[in-house]
């Protein structure tokens, strides 16, 4: 069954300073799909995800990004979040002094406000938070800690998935959420993602490893190289990359 159109990226170019990093990206994501993006270090995978989330260090010079009929590039980062975009960061930053609970309360209630819903009461919020933390196997003691402060690499990644679970995005872009995770954490995170998958949302999973894709099975795999998608195929492409590397694609 074909899902509805969700995200359309057309000929997207972006630069930082004078350096062009994205050199014409085309990508279509439909409801219910999981896309994987792979590619050598420095190809522009994180840049693409940052541009989609609205980071202004990158300047879009050409092309368009349409999500649910809206021009995403005209929206602020928070408006994109309200529109359902979620970026799981490759390197989640630490924010000392802002507790996880205050951060998420502010985020969740702002999302509700945008939908015309009343804010959650403290009790409702804490219940929701506990439920979602359980999904990713996070201890409740993390809620009062500063955002990512002193979290181990793996804990930071779990926190990203926890935030995703709280916000239930329409389109989640997970930038190397698997890196730094031990095998058990990887399974927990992947199970979390699979639990959150619905017919009306979609995932773009950026990874270097086939391992993650054993758990989160993609419908499509793209190879990004030097700012362009040089190959798109089914899930078997990830396996092939794992075995043969990128040379045959780059030089082929």
């Amino acid at each position: 069954m074909e899902g509805n159109k969700m995200l359309t990226i057309k000929d997207l170019h972006a630069k930082v300073g004078d350096k062009e990093i994205l050199k014409g990206i085309n990508l279509n994501v439909k409801e219910g799909e999981i896309h994987a993006i792979m590619g050598p270090n420095g190809s522009g995978k994180s840049t693409l995800s940052s541009v989609l989330a609205g980071r202004d260090t990158f300047e879009v010079t050409e092309g368009e990004v349409i999500m649910d009929g809206k021009n995403l590039l005209e929206l602020t980062p928070e408006e994109r979040s309200w529109a359902g975009v979620f970026l799981g960061f490759q390197y989640p930053i630490e924010i000392p002094g802002v507790s996880n609970v205050n951060f998420m309360k502010s985020a969740v209630n702002e999302h509700r406000k945008q939908k015309g819903l009343e804010p959650l009461t403290s009790a409702q919020f804490l219940k929701l938070m506990r439920e979602k933390m359980a999904i990713v196997g996070m201890d409740s003691s993390f809620s009062s800690r500063g955002v990512n402060v002193g979290f181990s690499g793996g804990e930071k990644k779990r926190n990203e998935i926890f935030q995703m679970a709280m916000l239930e995005p329409r389109l989640a872009i997970l930038d190397e959420t698997d890196s730094g995770l031990d095998v058990d954490a990887l399974r927990i995170v992947a199970t979390g993602v699979n639990n959150l998958k619905r017919p009306d949302n979609a995932f773009i999973v950026i990874t270097h490893y086939q391992r993650l894709l054993d758990y989160i099975v993609p419908d499509v795999v793209h190879i990004l190289y030097k700012g362009r998608i040089i190959k798109t195929a089914g899930k078997e492409l990830a396996l092939e990359v794992e075995q043969r590397g990128y040379d045959w694609l780059i030089n082929g």
Partner: protein, 336 residues
């Protein structure tokens, strides 16, 4: 607090116009009107006897009112006898937009092993000038903690001189100043380590917006025979506008050789990466900036030991950062 010869006067007309939601549970209020304690008209003078423990928090609310001389000067005295214990909140407000100038001196003396906790909260109008000199002496084994919360005011100047005169004393000073518009705030600290084996620390933080100007100058002075002391000083500033100015001058003067001292100052802006992270989760820019500023202020606010007071102060600081003080000329009457 019968022992202190002061009474709380709830029938006072002040309480009609003044909506201080403190007293909190376990707090007793005392009004000082234009420099004189209400009912006595003399400056505040408190003396705790040896071993006396004040169970209640004493909140001293100093107000400047309409019709009083614009310039006044007075001296307060807080004396804490050997082994005594007290918690004190000193609030200052101006009730009208007059150009008040208040010159205040506060002597704080801790005899040996006294334990004293002070929160100074300053919330005055933009036309007000308030200079305070705190002369502090700390005896052996005494513990003093003071937090200065300068929330609002035209020109506020806090000078603190501490003489640590007895071994084993511990003095903790902290300050949070929030300045915007054309406001000016100045904090200076002179920390004199006169004897060995003591600890002092200073943490001052400021958030500056618009054309505000703030100054911090602090000196840690360690006498030659004040060995094995620890003294720390830090001043951190967050500039929200291009025009706001901060002058900061941390200094050390050390004549002893076996000491642990550090000092430092930073001037920064809101972190763009943090801001993006918060916004990417749907927190609007304005809210995200408030979260960041509250996070910045947190390390000073968390020094307030009384949890209820701390929560009140956090709320006030947040309101202040949201700009809720500037719309209302009666702001300082509805402060807590």
């Amino acid at each position: 607090m019968g022992e202190l010869n002061y009474i709380y006067a709830p029938e006072s007309p002040l309480t009609e116009q003044f909506r201080c939601r403190v007293p909190m549970k376990g707090t007793r209020q005392l009004f000082v009107v234009n420099g004189g304690v209400q009912g006595t008209r003399t400056p505040l003078s408190i003396s705790l006897e040896k071993g006396q423990v004040m169970e209640e928090v004493l909140q001293v609310i100093s107000v400047r009112t309409e019709g009083s001389p614009l310039e006044i000067a007075y001296k307060n005295n807080l004396h804490f006898g050997e082994g005594s214990q007290a918690r004190i909140v000193l609030c200052s407000h101006t009730f009208t937009l007059d150009k008040f100038v208040t010159d205040e001196e506060v002597d704080i003396t801790l005899d040996d092993r006294a334990v004293v906790d002070v929160v100074v909260m300053q919330n005055e109008h933009n036309e007000a000038t308030h200079n305070t000199r705190f002369n502090i002496t700390a005896g052996a084994g005494s513990v003093l903690k003071i937090s200065f919360l300068t929330l609002h005011g035209g020109n506020i100047d806090n000078k603190v001189r501490v003489d640590i005169n007895g071994e084993g004393a511990n003095v903790d000073l902290s300050g949070l100043y929030l300045v915007d518009g054309k406001q000016m705030v100045s904090n200076s600290v002179e920390m004199n380590h006169n004897v060995p084996n003591c600890i002092s620390s200073q943490l001052y933080k400021g958030v500056l917006d618009n054309d505000a100007v703030a100054k911090f100058s602090g000196i840690i002075y360690v006498k030659q025979d004040a060995q094995k002391i620890e003294a720390y000083q830090a001043n951190h500033n967050l500039l929200l506008s291009e025009r706001a100015k901060i002058h900061t001058e941390p200094q050390l003067e050390i004549y002893a050789d076996d000491v642990k001292c550090s000092h430092g100052a930073t001037i920064g802006r809101l972190d763009e990466n943090e801001l993006f992270y918060l916004r990417s989760r749907g927190v609007p820019m304005k809210e995200a900036k408030i979260l960041q500023q509250m996070a910045f202020a947190y390390s000073v606010l968390e020094k307030i030991s009384n949890a209820e007071l701390r929560e009140r102060m956090e709320n006030l600081v947040e309101k202040r950062l949201r700009g809720e003080f500037s719309n209302c000329k009666d702001c300082s009457k509805n402060c807590c």
